[in-house]
Amino acid sequence: MLEIDDLSLSYGPVEAVRGVSLRVPAGQVTAVIGANGAGKSSLLRCVAGLVAPSSGRVTLDGADVTAHAPEALVRRGLVLVPEGRSTIPELTVRDNLDLGGLTRPRAERRETSAEVLDLFPRLAERLHVHASALSGGERQQLAIGRALMSRPRVLLLDEPSLGLAPLIVTQILELVARLARETDLAVLLVEQNAATALRVADDGAVLHLGSVVAAGPAAELAEDEGLRHAYLGY
């Protein structure tokens, strides 16, 4: 389980994340939703070790991993799929996937690769194609597939819906939710598309100007009309 305790992050005088506390249990999807500029991506980048927090703690299965380097966190089972379909266009699909599994032994990499390709059969058909030639949805699948290659215990997903058709978003997020349940994966999903995120998530938190203004079961947050009007815009 991933626990975020009173985490704050500042960029100079600007406080992007203010005292955020969250629990991300294994086997569940926890959604962090909020408008553009609410601090969602900053929160994920801080948890993933790409930026150091100004205060607070991040623990992974009880161990303090605050401000650990991203490469060290990957080896401990925490992986971020950053915003913008983080694939390497100049490499093939095969190479992109292999890159994600480089921290694992070669034999295990082959086994995981087969599992990932079962999960995303479209990638299996395009293994030797450069990632630049993939559609937006395929590239998002590849980004998630690359992250899964390291066999994570915690998956951080930053705005996977960005620029994708609603049907593709729903398919990808439902697949992630199924994966979380079936493999005991803890998923922290950051999304601007609140309706879709809350539909697949178990729990949720609403972020506004860097602070959590509401948290609870995703279904309850989705039903809260006041919350929807005030912060979620739908």
Binding site: L50, E71, S86, T87, I88, L91, D98, L99, L102, R146
Partner: protein
């Protein structure tokens, strides 16, 4: 001799020079592929390690190889690592500074005069019956070493995990970090490998030219020309056009004079930039920084 035999003679005479130009071009491509930086200090490193090789030649024939890797690492640590956060043009300019420092350092340690480097293999033309060919055993060794290096490096970059991490680090270091790889180590390895290749080129050319702090300057221009024409990203392109540049220089020298040879290389570079600015073997976008 008929005109065709003369031409073949000139071409064969350019093989060793071409192979060495190819190796330096290969080293330039390696640093480019791992970090998107052209290391203009490469020939300075080759010159410096050749002097070290000369100094320790009686003791052990392998020390220079370690020196090549160490110098590659030192240049990386002095240039790319501190400057990387700004942009790659800063690192490129810093490599010029390192080149000048290495040349000045070599002049202070070994002096500025040309010195002879011992030849490990015969460098005179191969004799068959009463005919002397314009190519030597040494030329063939240089060609063989270059071919083996290209093959080995290609396999390393495309078939190993470290090679994959090196290729990926050049494009999106953050994604590589988020895959659990220490990008600083892969960059350092890329520069160390390039250092080894460059040093090998220096030790191979020194016996058939001679050695001084500035004796490889022209080599840099020629290797840069070959790497650019090859597409900067392509090992095969660097080697093909490195060899081609060597052959062209030999032909121009033969028909005209040695003074005209660099001009021919520059005309080739200008034509390439006019007709195919991305390089012959480059994929679209491969040269974007």
């Amino acid at each position: 001799m008929n005109p065709l035999e003369v031409l073949v003679g000139y071409l064969l005479g350019g093989v060793a020079n071409g192979a060495v130009i190819a190796l330096i071009a290969l080293a330039l491509v390696l640093t480019w592929r791992s970090s998107r930086v052209i290391n203009f200090a490469q020939v300075g490193q080759a010159m410096f390690t050749s002097f070290i090789a000369l100094s320790v030649q009686q003791a052990t024939g392998l020390w220079w190889l370690a020196a090549g890797a160490v110098l590659g690492l030192v240049v990386y640590l002095l240039t790319l690592r501190p400057i990387r956060r700004s942009d790659s043009s800063g690192a490129i300019i810093a490599t010029f500074g390192i080149l000048i420092a290495l040349q000045a350092g070599a002049a202070m340690i070994w002096g500025g005069d040309l010195v002879a480097f011992p030849q490990p293999f015969p460098a005179s033309g191969i004799e068959t019956g009463d005919r002397v060919w314009p190519i030597s055993i040494y030329d063939l060794v240089v060609l063989g070493v270059a071919a083996a290096l290209v093959l080995g490096l290609s396999l390393f970059l495309t078939r190993t995990g470290i090679g994959l991490a090196m290729r990926a680090s050049a494009f999106q270091p953050e994604v590589v970090r988020l895959s659990g790889i220490d990008v600083r180590k892969t960059l350092a390895l890329g520069w160390a490998l390039a250092g080894i290749v460059g040093s090998l080129a220096g030790v191979l050319i020194a016996p058939i030219s001679s050695l001084s702090p500035n004796s490889f300057d022209l080599l840099l221009i020629l290797a840069f020309t070959a790497a650019v024409i090859g597409g900067l990203d392509s090992l095969v392109g660097a080697v093909m056009f490195g060899l081609g540049t060597g052959l062209l220089l030999s032909v121009v020298t033969g028909y005209s004079s040695a003074e005209d040879a660099p001009l021919a290389a520059l005309i080739l570079l200008a034509l390439n930039l006019l007709l195919k600015p991305g390089g012959v073997f480059a994929r679209p976008g491969a040269r974007d920084v």
